[in-house]
Amino acid sequence: MSVNQSQFTQAMMDAALPVPDGLVDGANRPADRRFNVYRNNVTVSLVEALKVAFPVITNLLGEVNLDGLARLYLQAHPPNTPLMMFYGADFPDFLASMKQLSHLGYLADVARLEQAERRAYHAADASPVAHDALAVLPPVVLMEATLTLAPSVQLVRSPWPIHDIWRFNMEEGAPKPTAAAQDVLITRPAFDPVFHLLPEGGGDWIAALMSGKTFGTAYEAAQATHPEFDLGVNLTLLLQDHAITHVKKKE
């Protein structure tokens, strides 16, 4: 009559299965619906963790729909680690895979933005370079240098207006989103992540920098796709928000 942890977890995660034999109440009767306390604790705590992680998605879909989706998700993707602040990393892909949500094409990217905010919040601290760290370099040296961005810096690129959707759901009086592709940069100048809607070409430039391209190559990449790319505006953003932690000159 022993109950092993495989039997326990299977029955816990599938309410259609019977309560394992060998679990009893104080009078040695079958534990019966007492077992539901564990079923309930696990489900409620994981659904709650997802709601906390994805407030905009919860807002967009409504609590009832989110509850249903979260229950499906936690069955297929129970947490892999006890770090609940990172639970839901696969939730954006899960949303993208749901046929009944395919008419809401932006959902997965909005969820990716919410995940990026979490990563930014918990990322390692890092000291920024001085404000004039780039200005003091001769142009030739600067163009061949590579930049290291702070671990908190996150770039989320989307064919959907994810920044406006996020604002509309999180900020009182924010304007209604209209169709547009949007690249969002998340920085963490102190402890709170800050969202920036990047101007034309900014996403290409920062993506190139993040992938280790030189300053010059990243600039050319941005200009090739967006002739109006404004280096000054984008660079000022990175410097003001303490997003650059290291400038590596070519050896």
Binding site: M1, Q5, D25, G26, A31, D32, R34, L46, D125
Partner: protein
């Protein structure tokens, strides 16, 4: 599963864990609360009766940012207890080496006054279920848990406290009582115990035993910390009361009474108020801590042995 070799006797721990002999920091025998970030300003400004704080280890396993900065700041003012909720000490599987490493890292940089975990499991088959799940009390599970605790204490380089669970059901296969099981673990591994008085009341109500008899049987000399928290009341399929360990409201009056009964036997101990769900304003939590501090004042300095 095969019986594991008998474990390290308690005295040999001193060789590998000098902290056991002369701990640098202690939890005071005073009131503490489970720390919540929304109370940061209040705690720093006027903590009232609160003399120490407990944090859930897993909430401070990010790489940086506000959580770690706050904890670093608080640790300069308060004794900190690190309370793990995710190691799955009672699991059938080996302890997760990645999680052990995270605990070691946190304890190394923070150097907390105390470290505790649960007599429970939460991970199976590589999945974490975010709840404290129950286990049978048998010689096999005793060997396994002692082995896990010894591994944990050697990894983090200090003695830990192990907490009694809330029970909603029992295992027909159990052959040992919970106090006897915990006593044997403490004897074999040298660990201390964390006695959650609310959990005792919940388990006693749910399984129909006397909570005072449980306290009488509990090895109070191993106890390094007491917990109190709120519970919810439901009923089981037979209409019998079924209490749920919700940590979402004030400590119930019969639990305060059981605390007095415990303190009369144990003398003052570090005493924590846990409130993890529907977290109230600081004033409400602070009032609970004040009540805990009064209970400690009534406790006898000389304990019955």
């Amino acid at each position: 599963m095969p019986a594991r070799p008998f474990l390290l006797p308690a005295r040999s721990l001193e060789a590998v864990m000098p902290d056991l002999v002369s701990p640098v920091r202690h939890l005071p025998a005073a009131a503490g609360v489970g720390y919540k970030p929304q109370h940061f300003a209040h705690v720093c400004e006027d903590a009232g009766a609160v003399e120490w704080l407990e944090v859930h280890a897993e909430n401070y396993m990010g790489d940086g940012g506000r959580p770690l900065a706050q904890l670093r700041h608080l640790s300069e003012r308060f004794a900190i207890s690190v309370h793990g909720v995710g190691l799955s000490i009672g699991g059938e599987a080996p302890l997760d080496p990645a999680h052990l490493a995270r605990l070691k890292h946190l304890i190394n940089w923070l150097n907390p006054a105390s470290f505790s975990e649960h007599l429970a499991w939460s991970t199976h088959g590589g999945h974490f279920y975010n709840d404290l799940l129950p286990l049978p009390y048998t010689n096999d599970t005793l060997d396994r848990i002692c082995s896990h605790i010894t591994q944990l204490q050697e990894t983090v380089g200090r003695r830990m406290l192990l907490e009694n669970p809330s029970s909603y059901l029992a295992f027909a296969e159990s052959t040992l009582s919970e106090p006897a099981f915990l006593d044997e673990i403490a004897k074999r591994t040298g660990c201390g115990l964390l006695l959650d008085v609310n959990n005792v009341f919940i388990s006693a109500t749910n399984l129909g035993f006397s909570p005072q008899a449980y306290i009488d049987a509990f090895p109070l000399h191993h106890v390094g910390e007491l917990h109190l928290g709120g519970h919810d009341e439901e009923t089981d399929g037979h209409g019998a009361p079924l209490l749920i360990d919700s940590h979402g409201r004030e400590v119930a009056d019969p639990v305060w009474a059981l605390l007095d009964y415990t303190l009369a036997k144990s003398g003052p101990k570090p005493l924590l108020i846990e409130w993890d769900n529907d977290v109230p304003d600081w004033s409400v939590l602070s009032a609970e801590a004040t009540r805990a501090a009064h209970a400690l004042e009534r406790a006898p300095g000389q304990v019955q042995v």
